[in-house]
């Protein structure tokens, strides 16, 4: 068993520098690497390019980095529910590459899996396809999209072990699995670091080979963005 365990978030973030490209898992605030994000704020690294479906909200998640102007460029599919994100984008302070959600995840998976490029129908005939090769297959039009390149991927999982094996929970899985191994270094934080051998090998979502560092996360807030309930009748 190859040991990926590091002591804490500080050790896990070793090597993160200004102007790097980072991938960050999560959808909205669900399944985001809270420990890594808070440490990026603390480290105060600047000029970051962040690949993440959303940019958090104004005062949580990646929104914290936006407020501190640590982010040079966001690569995301959705800006809604983050006024500061939209404001910085419209004012031109922030460079934003908007990518269709399915293309966004597949560009991560392509990096993870050694595919340089793939054809997808998403975005054909729109701004997204501008400057890209398009081609017809079986009577339908497709756009050639390329794998991402990133320095670090920050991943949040539910359970993990020192071998780097990961299990996600519910819809907190989202982009996290496809970002594992899609950057030079993948850092996974977990709610529960369990002993090696206690995870069923048949039920591991991401094998440890895709993870370089793993640590037990702390103080998860797991904020709910849109609490929606029904009344008991």
């Amino acid at each position: 068993m190859i040991n990926k365990k590091v002591a804490d978030v500080t050790e896990a973030m070793q090597g993160v520098k200004d102007d790097m490209t980072l991938m960050l898992g999560g959808f909205g605030l669900c399944g985001i690497p809270e420990n890594a994000i808070n440490n990026l704020v603390k480290l105060n690294v600047k000029g970051l390019t962040c690949i993440s479906n959303n940019a958090g909200v104004d005062d949580f998640g990646l929104g914290l980095l936006l407020h501190k102007r640590q982010i040079k460029k966001m690569v995301s599919s959705y800006v809604g529910e983050n006024d500061e994100f939209e404001r910085q984008m419209l004012s031109g302070e922030l460079d934003v590459e908007l990518v269709p959600q399915g293309t966004l995840v597949e560009r991560c998976r392509a990096a993870q899996s050694g595919f340089p490029a793939f054809f997808t129908p998403a975005g054909y005939g729109t701004e997204v396809a501008e400057g890209k090769e398009v081609r017809e297959f079986n009577g339908k039009m497709y756009v050639l999209e390329k794998a991402f390149e990133a320095d670090f991927a920050f991943i949040k999982a539910w359970k993990g072990d020192a071998a780097g094996n990961l299990i996600f929970k519910g819809t907190a899985r989202n982009f996290n699995p496809s970002m594992c191994g899609a950057a030079k270094i993948t850092v996974a934080e977990v709610e529960e670091l369990v002993p090696v051998g206690s995870l069923d090998p048949n039920q591991i979502h991401i094998p440890g080979i895709f993870v370089q560092r793993i640590f037990q996360g702390k103080d998860y807030e797991k904020r709910i963005e849109q609490l929606t309930v029904r009344q008991r009748s």
């Binding site: 959808f27 909205g28 605030l29 669900c30 399944g31 479906n53 995301s76 599919s77 959705y78 800006v79 809604g80 529910e81 939209e86 984008m89 419209l90 934003v96 908007l98 269709p100 959600q101 399915g102 293309t103 966004l104 995840v105 597949e106 991560c108 998976r109 997808t120 129908p121 998403a122 975005g123 054909y124 005939g125 729109t126 701004e127 997204v128 539910w158 996600f168 929970k169 519910g170 819809t171 907190a172 899985r173 989202n174 982009f175 996290n176 699995p177 496809s178 979502h205 797991k222 904020r223 709910i224 963005e225 849109q226 609490l227 929606t228 309930v229 029904r230 009344q231 008991r232």
Partner: protein, 217 residues
């Protein structure tokens, strides 16, 4: 004239037994509440869940269990969770039978715009570009006109597109329309709405063929 719930109720009639359905944010989300009894339908949300149930009871919400609108949800027996990659395999691979989403504009050729107003507003396309480029059955739920009273059913979209030639059917507060090779074909009128009112509110080419029935909700 229909309200948002009326639109959702009318669209719910389009949902067939055995359908896997993806619902967008807003009016589409309401459709789930009005699917008729006795048919089997599963709702997919592109953030990674199939078999969504109703919203949770207060106090039973789980931060790790949301839909694509970031709302807390529950799951039904037979549900499954999966990553974004497999989720878009379902969508792009045309395993989802019906996609219902909102729009700012739809053109008579079936183009749709719903993610950006240059210089003013950018929400982002989220999963919409994948959905509209892939789905074989797309229904748009929207108001017939915008807040300024201008038609949202146009000859050509003025806003940046989400997808081209993809919308099949539109349900608005005024009408049900099919997108055909020759333009918007009027299928049904909302209760109390005349064909003339629909004509006035439609900038794109409207095809009125014979008597147009009033919709039954």
């Amino acid at each position: 004239m229909l309200d948002k719930i009326g639109i959702a109720k009318r669209i719910a009639q389009e949902v067939q037994d055995g359908y896997y359905v993806n619902l967008g944010i807003g009016i589409p989300t309401l459709v789930a509440n009005y699917v008729r009894d006795g048919i089997e339908v599963e709702f997919q949300s592109e953030n990674g869940v199939l078999g969504m149930g109703p919203f949770p009871f207060e106090g039973e919400e789980d931060a790790d269990l949301i839909n694509a609108g970031k709302q807390t949800i529950t799951t039904l027996p037979g549900a499954s969770f999966f990553d974004s990659s497999l989720s878009f395999s379902m969508i792009r691979g045309q395993h989802v039978d019906l996609t219902i989403l909102g729009a700012m504009e739809v053109s008579e050729e079936g183009d749709i715009a719903n993610w950006k107003i240059p210089g003013k507003m950018v929400k982002g396309m989220g999963g919409a570009m994948d959905l509209v480029a892939s789905a074989q059955n797309i229904i748009v739920a929207m108001m017939h006109t915008n807040k300024a009273g201008e038609s949202k059913l146009l000859k050509k979209c003025s806003l940046p597109l989400t997808g081209v030639g993809c919308v099949k059917k539109i349900v608005t507060n005024l009408a049900v329309l099919e997108v055909t090779e020759n333009g918007f074909k009027l299928l049904e009128r909302a209760p109390g709405i005349s064909v003339d009112e629909i004509k006035k509110a439609t900038e794109g080419h409207l095809i009125v063929d014979g008597d147009i029935p009033e919709m039954v909700l």
